[in-house]
């Protein structure tokens, strides 16, 4: 099985101050000026706070089965939601991925909250959520380019905890990856540590599709990714969440 690992610098990530503001719920051109200032402060120091690592492991068709809306990878039965199953049923192989920003952003966010600066802490936290997805966008693009060399396409990425896929299935995702892959561990309650990490699956095949907008498939109402996708600045958001 192929395993690819990546490290990125903060400057490699493609997102702007506006995407952080949109994730908080603001529409373009109506962002609180105090919040804009706080976001700019975070972006000025972000490089020193991000230790971006990620990668994926590809499982080929010989270890894949799709039965009764379950995706079985090496005898791990992933009970994905029917919404997700529909998107991956034509896949020929699956990339199981993981990406992390490291712990510094979360540590800084908590430090600020505990010091009586909840707004700054919240801005750091939101930045972390957006930045890790931007990092995963880069990894997904690498996968797309490599797959295209063999005439293959990729699907959107899907993670436990979204689109109806129960978060407890993180254990199965982690069991398919090397131990402490990219320095990420899972707690008993299926929280990833560092917190600003993402994991999941991406389908690969000749007859799969990538959808530009999948948030309308999911019934989570208060989701920052839905906020971002529904904002008037959706050009800046291209993860397919």
């Amino acid at each position: 099985m192929l395993i690819e690992k990546y490290s990125f610098a903060f400057k490699d990530l493609k997102f702007t101050r506006n995407s952080i503001a949109m994730a908080m719920g603001y529409q373009l051109n109506s962002v609180n000026p105090q919040v804009e200032e706080e976001i700019d402060e975070v972006l000025a120091v972000a490089e020193n706070l991000c230790n971006i690592k990620g990668g994926y492991k590809i499982f080929d068709s010989n270890v894949l089965e799709k039965i009764n809306h379950k995706l079985i990878i090496e005898n791990q039965s992933l009970c994905v939601h029917p919404i997700v199953f529909r998107q991956i049923k034509k896949t020929e192989s699956i990339a199981v991925f993981l990406c992390t920003l490291g712990n510094e952003i979360t540590r800084k966010s908590r430090e600020l909250i505990n010091a009586g600066e909840p707004l700054k802490g919240y801005v750091y936290d939101t930045f972390g959520s957006i930045a890790v997805e931007a990092a995963m966008d880069l990894i997904q693009e690498e996968l797309r380019m490599k797959s295209s060399l063999s005439g293959l396409k990729i699907t959107n990425r899907y993670s436990p905890g979204y689109c109806g896929w129960n978060i407890s299935e993180q254990e199965k995702i982690f069991s398919l990856l090397p131990d402490k892959f990219c320095g990420v561990e899972l707690t008993d309650s299926c929280l990833m540590l560092p917190v600003k990490s993402v994991s999941g699956i991406i389908g690969i095949g000749r007859n799969v599709k990538y959808n530009s907008y999948t948030c309308n498939l999911c019934d989570m109402e208060k989701c920052l990714y839905k906020n971002l996708a529904n904002s008037s600045y959706s050009n800046d958001f291209n993860t397919g969440r």
Binding site: P118, L119, I167, S189, K222
Partner: protein, 222 residues
């Protein structure tokens, strides 16, 4: 309402913390909640009037905007900071008993869960409505909730969970509390929760937003 109380209400609602704060731009260079609260006391306005006619309504207004999607988490946090700046002038009156808190609210994110931003907003909003808040933080186990309830017997308890995995933790904590304190009022919240879940685990109230939590506490006190 007197001019100073109106200005104080507006300072809390708009997040004008003090004179030095440059935000909001429309109030730059003017006194903020810190200075205005002190001025109101110096003018002889009673502390409970300041709390009930300026500070609490200011937080209530921003809470309503948040519930309606016209304000977001940052506005809530900024207003809460303005409220805190004003409240430090009222602290001696709470200590002396001249202003009475409406009650004690014990809150924590349940064991296994580290999310805290939503919990913090609820804490600030409830404190801004006149309650004493005892915030236990995150990853709070049942015995910590029980120990705190013993210390504050008349308290209302709030719990937050943001993972479906920690909702199970919430259920067992609610059961332990209700076993030991059957009459204890427990409020729950968090993105994956619902009224149905609240009822199924024996909790007393669920609110999707801080304003609902405040309204529930108001009805309890009535």
């Amino acid at each position: 309402m007197s001019d100073i109380l109106e200005r104080l209400l507006h300072s809390v609602e708009s997040g004008k913390i003090n004179r030095l704060s440059p935000f909001p731009p429309s109030l730059k260079g003017q006194d903020g909640a810190d200075e205005l609260c002190k001025q109101a006391l110096d003018e002889g306005i009673k502390p409970d009037i300041i709390l009930n006619e300026a500070l609490i309504p200011g937080m209530s207004n921003i809470g309503e905007k948040y519930s309606q999607g016209r304000a977001f988490v940052p506005e809530m946090l900024i207003s809460a900071k303005a409220m805190t700046a004003a409240m430090k002038h009222l602290k001696p009156f709470f200590i002396s008993g001249e202003i009475k808190r409406k009650g004690v609210f014990v809150i924590g994110t349940v064991a296994g869960d580290l999310h805290e931003i939503g919990k913090n907003i609820v804490s600030m909003t409830i404190e801004g409505s006149g309650w004493e808040v005892v915030d236990l933080g995150v990853d709070v186990k049942a015995d910590k909730f029980l120990e705190t309830i013993e210390k504050y017997p008349g308290s209302v308890v709030g719990m937050s969970a943001l993972l479906t995995t920690t909702m199970a933790s919430m259920e067992s904590i609610v059961k332990e509390i209700k076993n030991k304190y059957p009459g204890k009022v427990i409020m729950v919240g968090g993105a994956p929760l619902s009224h149905e879940f609240c009822n199924s685990i024996g909790a007393d109230f669920y609110s999707p937003d801080p304003r609902g939590a405040v309204e529930f506490l108001k009805k309890l006190g009535a």
